[in-house]
């Protein structure tokens, strides 16, 4: 692990001057953003703004060409791989819900629990009471208790979104990156998801990417608007949505 000399920032997540290009296309341009411990941040921005790519960078899937990405003020995330970053306590929900479809909901959560992930640990694993209680609690939270033995592939799109949030809870990370959690949800489900994320935010730092403005408004947190891979505006939802450039980007020139 690459640990720098002492903390350089109080932020839990610190991005500065990050650049990424794919075959000459600049997906992320001089992106700088910080998240304080315990904060919840909503990220908005038109399609292709680079929101998902930013999460790819934070979780080690994409290596930036340039720039600093620090976790907890000390750990340089650009040098670590996905496994390592997950072990540090960064969990992620994907834009396209990604669950293990051929396994049960309970097994999906079991796999997500932050227990010994070594080959030996899983080969000789014996379930413990503590683990099954944690799984029960998560099932309760995501309202899938009755479906626990169903295959994850048989869930509706919205339920898969919830299962993936449940997997995040089971993973118990310090920082949650949640990519478009309410896509494909009904209004009621969207409201419930907002409530759930606010509940989660009582203990964890959360970054949520979402298009749904009602949802973002309901979260009631600081908003960052990305455009062409860089921060266009930052502030409350009202400030950001009245920002001229943001309006321009969203409505077209």
């Amino acid at each position: 692990m690459s640990v720098m000399e002492g903390r350089t920032t109080s932020a839990l997540l610190y991005l500065d001057g990050v650049h990424v290009s794919f075959d000459g296309f600049h997906a992320i341009n001089n992106l700088s953003l910080t998240l304080e411990p315990g904060e919840m941040r909503a990220i908005i921005g038109p399609n292709g703004a680079g929101k998902t790519t930013m999460m790819d960078i934070i979780t080690g899937k994409t290596k930036p060409d340039e720039g600093t990405v620090l976790f907890d003020g000390m750990t340089d995330l650009t040098r670590l791989d996905e496994t390592h970053i997950a072990e540090l306590g960064i969990g992620r929900k994907f834009q396209k819900p990604t669950v293990f479809e051929s396994q049960t909901i309970e097994d999906n959560l079991l796999l997500a629990l932050n227990v010994d992930h070594s080959v030996r640990g899983t080969l000789f694993w014996r379930g413990s009471r503590d683990e099954s209680e944690r799984i029960d609690r998560v099932l309760e939270t995501i309202r899938l208790t009755d479906a626990r033995n169903r295959l994850a592939g048989s869930l509706s799109h919205g339920q898969k979104q919830w299962l993936e949030i449940g997997m995040l809870l089971a993973q118990d990370p310090k920082l949650l990156l949640v990519d478009e959690p309410v896509a494909g949800m009904t209004d009621v489900e969207t409201h419930q998801t907002a409530e759930l994320l606010k509940e989660i935010n009582k203990e964890k730092t959360v970054m949520v990417v979402e298009h749904d403005m009602t949802f973002v408004r309901e979260l009631g947190v600081k908003v960052t608007c990305l455009h062409e891979g860089t921060v266009l505006a930052e502030g409350t939802i009202d400030q950001v949505s009245s920002n001229e450039r943001v309006v321009e980007v969203y409505l077209g020139r």
């Binding site: 996905e82 994907f94 051929s102 796999l111 932050n114 992930h117 899983t122 080969l123 000789f124 993973q171």
Partner: protein, 388 residues
Amino acid sequence: MTPHVLTRSLDRSATIFLVVVAGLGVLIPLSNLLLPAGSALQVPTYLVALFGKYACYAILALSIDLIWGYCGILSLGHGAFFALGGYAMGMYLMRQIGSRGVYGNPILPDFMVFLNYPALPWYWHGFDMFWFAALMVILVPGLLAFCFGWLAFRSRVTGVYLSIITQAMTYALLLAFFRNDFGFGGNNGLTDFKDILGFNVQADGTRAALFALSCLALIVAFLICRAVVTSKLGKVLIAIRDAESRTRFLGYRVESYKLFVFTLSACMAGVAGALYVPQVGIINPSEFAPGNSIEAVIWVAVGGRGTLVGAALGAVVVNYAKTYFTSGPLAPYWLFMLGALFILVTLLLPKGIVGTFNAWRESRKATEKANAESAALEDGVGEPKPAE
């Protein structure tokens, strides 16, 4: 409800499998040795050897199913590990010949005398001891798989690229073992074995014992595979198979898991090869032929990928067909038939024999349950409850 039923039904097929293999492993040798030759129930020795061969193929198929069916690693080079195990056993058998060879050299096998080797190559030392050879049967394929897997999985080589390099690996070994100066008998390989642990390899008793041992090895291999796939590690393997990158984001070191099953699988293939060689009486470079590895994958596809029992069954069924057809007038067309079989199975039975059977039984149970429930419901509506 479904997974509970699934586990139970799998348990049942596993039990049936174990009982059948153990039963055959005991009854066939007894019938061969105790019943008078020619009697209707006596299994002739040539069949004992043939069935022994099938058992070894079944172990190879299990080893492929473990990595392909459960972890999505399609190795098209598993025949190489089988052949390496076979060569390790062959080397032991060669050294048992001693001075009974054509040239009567007490140390050097015949082909070395013929090729004017001044002395035994260093890597042939120790193979006169059975325990050493037995260790090599597991270590050599295991070590090769470990090194190969370490390089491939760490660089995240997956899918068809991985399959291609496994083909390249077995092809490279084929070319190497063909060379006379490689020290393994070149084109002719190792043959003319005399005895194993002091027993004549041709004797009925030895053949019966080798068959029984192959069945035992098949049972042990099956139990090991089953223990692996039913553990939490097995769930991780399936997770890797279905969504590899998702598994990494949960904090699993995917390459370590792949390396573990790939190496374990290669060791099993090596044991299969080692049991195979004394029963067929020869090992030569053609065992490394890329086609052999592909054929073994077809067995698994036919029997049912990711079912273990299906893999073993597929190996036996396809090889029985091969024995049947290649001994008749259709012999020249066997490869076409195998290809056609593969295409048919892929199109019509993508889950293989056992996979399709399991799915059919699942759906029948589900309908029965649904019927029972709706019947109960109707009963409840139709008959007013008697007053309390």
